[in-house]
Structure formats: C-alpha cells, structure tokens
C-alpha cells in the first residue's frame, strides 16, 4: 500500500480530558490531536478508557474536565444528535423493526431530502459496503458480517466529518475479521473521512491505522505510526501489548543527545538510538528485542552481532517455530521466532545455537 500524503489539518482536538466516576478516573488528563482524513486507532486493554474517550467524542458521555473539539468547533454542550460524528456500535445496533434500506435511510429522514435523492444516497451507501440488492431484508435475516456492513452504511450515508468505530470487528470470526480489516481500510481511503477506531486487538490496529494511540489505565502512553509503535515502543507496557518482546536488564553507562550506551548481561555493551520521549530513571533501563529479530545462525555462518545459548523448548506453529533459548548470564531465556524455511523446526532441544541480531532492532526503554 503506497504511503498516503499526510494531511496536517487537525480534525479532533482533545485537550486535557478527564472523566471521573467518583474517585475512579476512566480517563486521566488525556490530550490528543487527530488529523483530517486519517485512520486513527485507540488501542488498549479493556478498561483503559478508549471506549470512554470515543463515547465522549460522539457525545454520549461528557468530560469531567477538559475540552473536545471537532473540526474546530467546541463540542461542549452539543448533544450527540447534533454532532458531525457518526458511530458504528460494537453490537451494530441495527433496528430490528426496520429492513436494511430503512435502517440505512434512518438518519436521512430528518434531512427531508427528495425521495429520489434519498434513494440514491441509500443505494450509494449500500454499494460502498457491497450490500446492493439486500435492501429489503430484515435485520434478523442477516449474518454478522452483513449486519456490520449495514451499521457502516447507516453511518456513512450521513457523510459525517468523523466516523467512530467501537470494536466493530470483535464479534466476527477470524477469517471474516481479517477480510473486513482490508475492506475497512480500503473504504476509508475511498471516502476520505476521518475514522477513529477503538480496538483491543493490536494486529487490527497495526493493519488498518495511519496512527495509533496506545492507552493504559486512562492514560495515553504513546501516539505514533504503527511501525514506530511496534518497533520503538516507549515503555515495557506498550512493547508487551504490541506482541512478543524479550526484555533484558540494562545499565546506562553513557547518554547523549541521540544515543545511549547500555551495559547488558547477555548482549554486552550496546549502543542504541535514544527514544524521543526517553526520560531516565537512575541508571537502570530495559533493553528490548522482538523474537523475530533474532535469527538462527547455521553451520559456520557468522554475524557481526551474535549471542549463543541452549535451546530449552521448541514450539511448532506451521510456518514458524518458537524457540526458547537460554543465554548464559540472562535471568530469563530469550524467545526466538524463526521461519521454517531452513529447518528451525528440526533443531533438537538441548542444542547450543548462535543467534544473530541487528543492533538497530534493540530498543532502549526507561524503567
């Protein structure tokens, strides 16, 4: 997929938003800018405040303090029915007493369009989500995937400035979910509307988004592109949530503008890029490396950077094999993901192997 030109105009401004329920803060001083035309994801475990934030943008909930504006317009005091946003609900919320067409036309009725114009827009929306010809079906006669498309068409037909999606794919089975990820992304590029997606599925967020905000405990931990979030997580929590990561204890020996020099047990002394938001907390730090960035060295092959260890466990996953490798000096064994092209699935447990790594793949994280 070619990189889209970044449109820098901001669409949603979230400024120091806090939402408290008694002493519990569902959202704690969150600030965020979402750009016009981007596919933005709020990613985090359940209870991290992502849905609360989405519902506040939609107008179903109000900030205890702080402000939200959409397209330059402050949203305070504007009820949900008069906001330039539309939502795709997790349960789809298809009106059971109406057929597909009537569901899609629901919001248009208020606009009092001419009959032909209304029909045209409904047809157009149904075509966008590949539901042409199913207009007369009742909601009860639709499959999960079709219901989701109806919910999408019903929101898109309103031509909102922002489309909000609350875990839209979580009720679908794996195969359909993956297909819908591609379709949603394609649809967003076609209509050019700003999409804000809430999800707890990191692969979903990585696959679809222009940018992701990772949230934990009501706070935004990191906002960046999928690649940066995955490769340069700001802390252990983010790194851990975005897939497997080996964590190695490290000690900072030198810090300057752009780089860090760390002493580690298994990897020795390494020099890494200093993360943008790195704030040191004493001398201790953590070094991370993703399992797939460690490669098994075969026979006499050598690499500039390598570590050696003993295979203690092997798990077969079809196209890949997970190896658990004990490295002398490291308190926790490393996990290594290797494709099965060269026979990683045949390495006997107990063998000593050498692993190559690229220092670029090492991420320093403040403790």
């Amino acid at each position: 997929m070619p990189e889209r030109p970044q449109i820098e105009r901001s669409m949603i401004e979230i400024r120091n938003v806090t939402r408290s329920y008694g002493s519990f803060k569902a959202l704690d001083d969150a600030s965020l800018t979402i750009r016009e035309g981007e596919f933005f994801s709020l990613l985090g475990p359940s209870g991290c405040g992502k849905t609360t934030l989405l519902r506040m943008i939609a107008g179903f909930d109000n900030p205890t303090s702080g402000s939200i504006s959409v397209d330059g317009q402050p949203m305070e005091g504007i009820p949900a029915n008069r906001r330039p946003t539309n939502m795709v609900f997790q349960s789809y919320a298809i009106f059971p007493h109406l057929n597909v067409e009537q569901n899609v036309a629901y919001g248009l009725k208020r606009l009092k369009l001419a009959g032909t114009e209304e029909r045209r827009r409904v047809e157009e929306a149904l075509a966008q989500v590949s539901l042409t010809g199913l207009g007369k079906r009742l909601a009860t006669e639709l499959s999960g995937g079709q219901r989701q498309r109806v919910a999408l068409a019903r929101a898109l037909v309103m031509r909102p400035k922002v489309l909000l999606l609350d875990e839209p794919l979580s009720a679908l089975d794996k195969k359909l979910r993956e297909q819908m990820q591609v379709e949603l992304r394609r649809l967003q590029q076609a209509v050019g509307i700003t999409f804000v997606l809430v999800t707890h599925d990191q692969y979903e967020a990585l696959a679809m988004s222009d940018r992701i905000a990772v949230m934990f405990g009501g706070m935004i931990a990191q906002v960046a592109s999928p690649k940066e979030i995955y490769q340069r997580p700001v802390n252990r929590q983010v790194a851990d949530f975005l897939g497997g990561m080996n964590f190695v204890k490290a000690e900072i020996v030198e810090e300057n503008g752009a780089s860090l020099v760390l002493d580690t047990l298994g990897f020795g002394r390494v020099k890494t890029d200093k993360p943008k938001a790195f704030v040191r907390n004493g001398a201790a730090a953590t070094l991370g490396i993703r399992p797939e960035r460690l490669r098994v060295l075969w026979d006499d092959a050598t690499a500039k950077f390598e570590v050696a260890g003993k295979v203690v466990e092997r798990h077969y996953f079809g196209e890949i094999t997970h190896l658990i490798v004990e490295i002398p000096g490291l308190e926790k064994p490393l996990s290594v993901t290797e494709t099965n092209d060269f026979g990683a699935d045949d390495i006997p447990v107990g063998t000593t192997i050498r692993l190559a790594y690229d220092p670029e793949a090492l991420v320093a994280m403040a403790d």
Partner: protein, 305 residues
C-alpha cells in the same frame, strides 16, 4: 427353529416398543401436564361446553326443553336492552384499556429507563394496592367519588363548585375510573417487560443518527414496545368486558354492563338458556375485538416507520 423361539424375541420387541413409547417426549410431556390438563378440562372446558349447550335450549316454566333453537341468540342480538348493554360493556372496556395503557406506559417507561438500581422496589410498590381486597378498593372509590365524598368536598372547599356533583358516581364514568385504577398494574408489567427487552444502544444509535429524545422515542422505543402495549390492552380489555362487581357497586343505573344482565338471567330471572346465549355472544364479540385490537396496533406500528 420353532414358533415359540420366534415368538419370544417378538414379545421382547413389543416390550421394548412400549418402553420406548413411555419414554418418548410427547408422552412424558403429556404425563407431566396431565394434572393441570384434567383440572382445565373439568373446570374450564366442560362448563363452557355446558354453557354452549344451554344456549341452544329453551326454558319452560320449571324444566328445560332440549330441542335445538336459535331463539336465545335472536333475543340476545335484537332485544335493544341486551344490545345496548353489550355496546356499553365494549365501550367501557375499550375506554378503560385505552386509558390504562396510556397511564401505565409512562410509569413502565420511568421504571425501565430511570429506575436504576431500584427497579424491583418500584415494581413492589406498584403491587401494594393489591394487598387489600378488590371490594375494598372499589369501596374506597365510592368514598372518593360519592355525594359527600373526598372529591366533592375538595372541589367545594376550593370554591370550584357550589354544590356536590352527582355526575361522579353511579354512572359509566365511575366504572371507567374505578376499573382503570384497578387494572393499572396489569398493564404496567407487560409494558415494562417489553421496554426492558429493548437494547439501549438502539436508542443511542437513533440519537447518533440525529434524533432528539422525542423522535427517537417515537421511532424506536415506541414501535419496539408494541408487543407490550398489545398484551397490556388485551389483558385489561378481555376481563373488563365481563366485569360485574364494579358496575354493581359504583355503576348505578347508567353503569350496568352485560355481565349484570347475564347474572340476572342465571339468578333472579332463572332463564339459563338466555343467560348462556348472552355469555356466548359476549365471548365471541370479545374475541373479535381482541383480534381487531392486535391488527390495529400492528398497523399503527407499521405506519410509524
């Protein structure tokens, strides 16, 4: 091979078949409901059959002539007094159902949408009037609506009327007021249940698509609670057509209903065949009206889309 040897497995099979029959679901189900079934047959179906049979017979001075005749039905349908009573009963019961549903809906809505943690407490409070006997409740309406009653004294005390109004008690209005109050809880419950079943995100979706509170209520909540409205209307309408205690106590001369006439035929007038014909006629009319009510509400629901 002898016949006996062949016979014994055959005998075994019939036994197996009998066991299978006893263990089959329909038979077990029938066995399970049989006490209730017998009870219903003896106390419900037999009396109705007896009533239907009577309606085709004739009363002679002290005996009943068992020759088939439609004379009773001719009387029931053409005699002005019975026709008027039937019309009035229908008018009263339809009016009562209408007002009961209209008054019960907001209460059910409030409990369902705003009852919060106290839903069961609210429902419990609604049942409190039922702790006293129905007669006492009707009597208390007499106290409220009577010549020297609470309402008259109150209105006079406020200077709205100069002398006690006699329009409050002993007429069909009094019957309507009393029945509407008496049946309120029976209407609140089915409406409450149907409102509880509505997914709240549907209302949110309507709001998200631009509807204010009134429009989302009219376009989503109301049509989806139609089943509750239908049951409430039927639950109130069907029994009130045949009510005779309430008209007897607060109805006076103008509030007499068809059931009072039926009671008179079975009692003082001692003309069971005519009473039976009136009962069957009422039953049929109620069935028709109930069917019509369902159809009308469904049509209204379709129009509201």
């Amino acid at each position: 091979m002898t016949a006996a040897a062949e016979g014994s497995p055959a005998f075994g099979m019939t036994r197996a078949r009998r066991n299978a029959l006893l263990q089959s679901e329909p038979v077990q189900g029938l066995a399970l409901i049989s006490p209730t079934l017998v009870y219903a047959l003896i106390l419900l179906v037999l009396p109705i059959l007896a009533v239907i049979a009577h309606s085709f017979w004739t009363k002679n001075y002290l005996t009943v002539d068992h020759t088939f005749t439609l004379e009773n039905y001719r009387l029931a349908l053409t005699e002005p007094i019975y026709r008027d009573l039937l019309w009035r009963s229908l008018y009263i019961s339809l009016t009562v159902s209408f007002f009961t549903v209209v008054l019960a809906y907001p209460i059910a809505y409030f409990i369902s949408f705003h009852g919060g943690r106290h839903k069961s407490l609210w429902l419990f409070l609604i049942t409190i009037p039922f702790w006293t006997s129905y007669l006492l409740r009707v009597m208390s309406w007499k106290v409220i609506l009577g010549y020297n009653g609470v309402l008259n004294s109150g209105l006079m005390g406020l200077g709205i009327i100069d002398e006690p109004s006699t329009a409050l008690l002993y007429n069909s209005t009094a019957v309507i007021i009393t029945l509407t109050h008496a049946w309120a809880a029976f209407a609140i419950l089915p409406i409450f249940v149907s409102l509880e079943k509505i997914d709240r995100t549907l209302v949110e979706a309507a709001t998200d698509l631009g509807d204010g509170p009134v429009r989302s209520f009219l376009r989503v909540t109301l049509p989806l609670s139609a089943p509750g409205i239908i049951s409430a209307a039927l639950i109130v309408m069907i029994p009130t057509v045949g009510d005779y205690v309430t008209p007897k106590l607060v109805g006076g001369k103008d509030g007499v209903m068809i059931a009072n006439a039926i009671q008179a035929q079975f009692g003082k007038a001692s003309n069971w065949p005519l009473g039976a014909a009136l009962s069957v006629t009422t039953m049929l009319v109620v069935t028709l009206i109930a069917g019509a009510t369902v159809l009308i509400i469904r049509a209204a629901q379709r129009l509201a889309r």
